[in-house]
Symmetry: D3
Subunit: 138 residues, 6 copies
C-alpha cells in the first residue's frame, strides 16, 4: 500500500447566480430551472472543500502546507467569485450555466493548473447544506 | 415561576442582495459597504429560526404546533423571499437596505401580525454561519 | 454587574415516542398530531443542552465542574430515557404526552431537585435539528 | 479523465426500530444488541445522503436535477419510512434486522430500480451524528 | 418595545492550556481537575461568539459593521491567544486558571473597553462542541 | 457487485502539540511551521472518524458492532492521546512531527493491528473544521 494521504481544506464564498439557457424561451427555462431561473438572481453561501492527495514529505510531515493551499484558493478562487454575481461579473460563466456541477468543474480547472501534478485534486462544492457536488467523481 | 416554554422552528431561504445607499456616491458606498456594495449583487443561504414563547396547552402539550408554525413561515416569509433578489423583487427592501438586521426586523413585523399576541416572538437570522442577528434582542 | 457565568453541557439520547390523547377518537388524534400519532411509534435522536448559571468559584474558576454535571445528567436523565419508548417504558410519560415541551419540563424538574439552588437551570431539548425548545423560557 | 460529477442530496426521516433476532433467546439478544434490543423500541433522526454520479448534461449543466432526485426520494423512501416503526410498519424489515447497514441496502435497492442505469448510485445513512454507513462501499 | 437588535460574530482560535492550582498538592489537583491537570498541557479549538446589542443605524441598517467587529476581535483577542499556551504565553492567565469561564471573562473585559458603551456585549466561548459558557449570563 | 458496506464511527480527543524540526534552526522552523512552531505548544479538539468496510453478517446485519469499534478506539487511541501533549507525553511523536497527516498514519497503524484483516480500514482526522486528512487516501 502506498503512503498517500488526502488533505482537505475548507473555504467559502458568497455569490449570486441564475440558472438560464438563452437559447430557450421563458416557459422552457421556467419548466427546467424553476425558481433558479429568477431573472434578478438569487444567491448562496458556497462552501468549498479542496482535496489534495500525495505522499507526506518525510521531513515536514506535510502533504502540502494547508496555509499555502489556503492562500492559493484565496487568490485564484475566492477573490474571483466572492461577493460576485457569477453570471454578470465573471468571464467563466458568461456562457456557461453556473450550476454547482459547472462551478466545481471551473474551480477544478483553475486549481489543476496551479497545484503541482504530483498531487491528485478533487473539488467538493456545497451550494446548500443539502445539495453538493464532487468533481471529479470518485 | 411561570410555565412558559420557548419553541423554535428553523427554516431557510436563498436570496441575492446588495447593500447600498442611493443618497451616497460610489466612493462612500464602497467605503461603508465594501464588497457587499457589488452592483450586480451577491447572495446567501439564509437560515431563519423563529422563537415562540407561551404556555404549553394542558391537553396537547404543545405551545404551538410546529407544523402550523412552519406553514405560517413558509406562506408569509419563505414564499416571499426564497430565490429572490431582495432589492429588486420585494417591496419591503425597495427603500430599505437589506442588512441582516433589517431583514430580521421585516420578518418579525410580518409574523408578529399573524402569531397570536399571547405568544412572544423573536427572529434569529443567519446570513452566514459566522454572522447572525436576533430581533428583538433579549 | 454580577459575575455570573452560564455554563452549558450537551448530552444526547435516542428514544421512541408517540403523540396521542387517549380521551380523543382516532380522527381527532390524527388531525391534531398527524404522523406523530402513529400507533407503533417513531423516534428521535434527542440532543439535550443543560444551562447552569452561577458565580465561578474563586479558586477553581469553575461555576460547576462539567464532568460532575455530565455525570448527574447521565445518571438521572440519560439512563432513564436512552433507548427507551417514552410512552411505554417510563413512568413520567405514562399519562403525559411526550411532546418536546413536556420532555423538557420533565427533565428540568428531575434536575432542579439535584442541582443546588444557588444555580439557575435551563433545559434546551432538540427533537430534530429544526425543532427545539427551552424550559423555562427566558 | 472522464467528465463525471457526483451530486449529493440530503434528506431525513424519523423512525422507531429495534434490533432483535427472533431465533435467539433474550439473553443472546441482549448480549449482542444491548440497549438496541429494547422490546418497546427506540428511535432515531435518520439523515440520508444520496450520491448520484454521471456526466453533466451539456445544455443544462445538471447531472440530474436535484429537485427531481429529491422528489424521487420523498416518494419512494421518505413516505415509506418517515414517522414509522421500521419493524412493525414496513414490509422490508418484517424479517430483516433494521441495522443502519440493512436500512442503507434496502434504500439502495429501492432507488436503484428508479435512478436510470447510466448513473452510479451510493447511499449514506446517518443513524446518529457518530454512527453512519455507506452502501455500496467505495 | 425598543428597536434593539443583537448581532453576533463567530471567530476561533487554537490554544493549549492546563487547569492547575499551584497552592494545592498534586493529589488535590488531580482530584479536582482530572485529565485537565496534565503538566504538559492539552489543547482546544476554541470557538468564540461575540454578541453586540444596539439600535441599527437608520442610514446603514447596521448595529455595527461586522467587518469592524471582526477586525477588533482579531486584533485584541485572536492575535493574543491563537496558537498560544494560555498558561505560559499570556499575562492574563499567569495567575488565573484558564477555565472556559475565566477565558470568557478575560475576553469580555478586553473587548468591553473597546466596544462603545452604547452597545451591550456578551461573550460565548465553546471549549468543545459539548462544553461552552456565556459571560455575562442572561 | 459485492455486498460490502462501510461503517463509520466518530470519536474525539483534545491534545496539545507543536510542529518543529529539531534539525533546523529557529528561523527555518518559523518559516515552515509559522505559529504552529510555538515552543510552548498550542492545541486542538481532534475529531476522529474510523471507516471499516466489510460484508454485513447475515444474522446480525452488522459489519461490525459499532459499540465494539468504539471500545477499541477508546482503549487504543483515545486513552493514549486524549488530554495529552503529543510531543512530550507520547512515544509515537517523540521523533515524529505531529502533523495531522502523521497523526492519522499513526492511528491507522495502531488500529490496523487490531481490526481483523477481512475489514478495510481508513482513518479521517479533523484537526479543525477546516483542515482534515484521510489515510490511506482513496
Amino acid at each position: 500500500m502506498s503512503n498517500r494521504v488526502a488533505v482537505y481544506r475548507k473555504e467559502h464564498f458568497n455569490a449570486a447566480h441564475r440558472l438560464h439557457n438563452p437559447d430557450w424561451d421563458e416557459a422552457t427555462n421556467d419548466r427546467v430551472f424553476g425558481k433558479c431561473n429568477n431573472p434578478n438572481y438569487h444567491g448562496h453561501n458556497y462552501e468549498l472543500v479542496l482535496k489534495v492527495t500525495g505522499e507526506p514529505d518525510a521531513v515536514t510531515g506535510y502533504v502540502m502546507d494547508m496555509k499555502v493551499l489556503s492562500d492559493i484558493v484565496q487568490e485564484h478562487v475566492i477573490e474571483r467569485f466572492d461577493h460576485k454575481n457569477l453570471n454578470e461579473d465573471t468571464v467563466e460563466f458568461k456562457n456557461l450555466n453556473p450550476t454547482a456541477e459547472n462551478i466545481a468543474i471551473v474551480i477544478y480547472k483553475i486549481l489543476r493548473k496551479i497545484i503541482e501534478p504530483e498531487f491528485d485534486l478533487q473539488v467538493r462544492l456545497y451550494e446548500t447544506e443539502r445539495n453538493f457536488v464532487d468533481y471529479p467523481a470518485n
